[in-house]
Structure formats: C-alpha cells, structure tokens
C-alpha cells in the first residue's frame, strides 16, 4: 500500500509543481509587462 501512495504522491507533486511554476512565471511576466506599459505612458 505504501508504494501505491508514494507513486500517487509523486504524480500529483510533479503536476502541482509544473502548474505552480507556470503560474509564477506568468505572474512575473505580467508584472514586467505592466511596468513597461506604465513607463510608456
């Protein structure tokens, strides 16, 4: 049973980290874009 839970934990951890990294990078780029656009005005 421990192997089953370990495998499922790894699966969801990797998926979570992938989605989190995409979200964080998106937020960072959006902020940079906002700052550049503000500077243009």
């Amino acid at each position: 049973m421990i192997y089953l839970f370990a495998a499922y934990a790894v699966l969801w951890l990797i998926t979570f980290l992938l989605v989190l990294s995409i979200e964080l990078r998106q937020a960072q780029l959006e902020e940079e874009l906002k700052a550049i656009r503000k500077g243009e005005k």
């Binding site: 192997y3 790894v10 699966l11 990797i14 990078r25 998106q26 780029l29 550049i36």
Partner: protein, 222 residues
C-alpha cells in the same frame, strides 16, 4: 480559446481526474498476483501516454515552424516539450516505485526503461539547447531540427517491449488488451482524463510563452 471554454475544460478535467481516482482506487478490481500496488498502472500508463503525445506535438510544432517560419509553432513545441518532460518524469518515477515490490529492484537496464531514460534526457537537452541560443529564429530553427530528430526515440521506446526481450509487461498487443473489462475501462477513462489535463496545462503554458514573446517585442522596440 475563450475564457468560458477554458473554464469548462478545467472543470471537465477536474471531474475526470476525480472520477479517474475513484475508478483506479475503488472501481477497478485488485489484481490477483500484485495486489493493490498494481493500481499504480492507471496513472503510470496515462503519464507515459501524455509524455509521448506531448513530444509528438513538439515534433509537429517543429515541422510547422520550419515550414511556415512562424514563431507561434516554436512556442507550441517548447510548451509541449516542458509538459512532456514532467509527465515522462512521473512515468519513470512511478514505474520505479512499482518495480520495487514487483521486480525487487528500483531500476534495471531493461530496453523499455533504458529508452524511457534516453527520451527524457533528449528532451531535457532540447530545453538546454534552447537556453543557449539568443536569437529567436535561430533558436527556433535549431530546436525544431532537434525536436524532429529527437522524436525518433519515442516510437523506439513504445515498440521496445514488442521488439526486444524485456521484463516490462505488454498491455496492448495485436490480439487485443490483456486486461479484464473493468481494468480496461478504468485505464481508458484515466487516459482520457490525463489527455484533458495535458490540454489544460498546455493552454496555460502557451499563454506564458505568448506573454514572453510580447515582452521581448516591447523590449526590442525600446
């Protein structure tokens, strides 16, 4: 894709994953020889499938970029490769966890396992290659060629268990599936749910690349 469609896809995927978990942990019968640990199968195979499919999209993106010279295809190829690496990592690690109680080893240099590791390394190298080139079109050209050539490893990995003697089981044979109907339904359902999950993540990852392209364009215009 519109926001409403995107939300609908996310909701559908969430329902699919929850139902998939239920089917894998409750609905599917316990395998007679391996016991509960065999239930890893219902997420191990879909992870490998998404990995292979993602690399196929990278291959297609590479061809389309070389044909059209439009960077949007390169962005698609990159986004898909990153997702493919994550799911291939999952397939390799869950396979290793499954192998420990069943084969009595975490890892063996079996053709399927070795080729899966080779596929993983090829696509990590694909990302490293991209990081080393500054010019967007030069980067896209090199990455496309690498992505197309590297994809040769994917069918090789898929057919490894059919062509060579290996300890890895073969589920899809020319005679059909070596599974009970309940096991087969669970697997097919999880395959569909994971494919939806791939598209949900791909949309978000593409959005990130589009933002990056917009930023590079603005910086270039300064």
């Amino acid at each position: 894709m519109g926001l409403r469609w995107n939300r609908f896809l996310i909701l559908l995927t969430a329902i699919g994953i929850i139902l998939g978990l239920y089917m894998a942990l409750v609905f599917a019968p316990t395998e007679a020889t391996m016991g509960h640990v065999q239930r890893i199968f219902y997420f191990h195979v879909p992870s490998a499938w998404v990995g292979f499919f993602a690399f196929f999209v990278t291959f297609l993106g590479g061809i389309l970029y070389l044909w059209k010279r439009d960077l949007k295809w390169d962005r698609l190829a990159l986004s898909s490769a990153e997702i493919g690496i994550a799911f291939m990592s999952t397939a390799i690690i869950t396979g290793s966890i499954w192998a420990r109680p069943v084969w009595n080893t975490w890892w063996t240099w079996d053709p399927r396992l070795t080729l899966s590791a080779v596929v993983w390394v090829i696509y990590v190298a694909y990302l490293m290659l991209r990081a080393m080139v500054e010019d967007p079109h030069r980067r896209a050209r090199l990455a496309s060629v690498f992505g197309i050539a590297g994809f040769a490893s994917v069918p090789l990995d898929f057919f490894a268990i059919r062509w060579w003697r290996t300890i890895h089981p073969v589920i899809f044979t020319s005679q059909g599936f070596s599974l009970t109907p309940k096991m087969l339904w669970t697997l097919l359902f999880c395959l569909a749910a994971f494919t939806l999950l791939y598209f949900v993540i791909l949309i978000q990852r593409l959005r990130l690349e589009n933002l990056r392209a917009e930023l590079e364009k603005l910086k270039g215009g300064e």
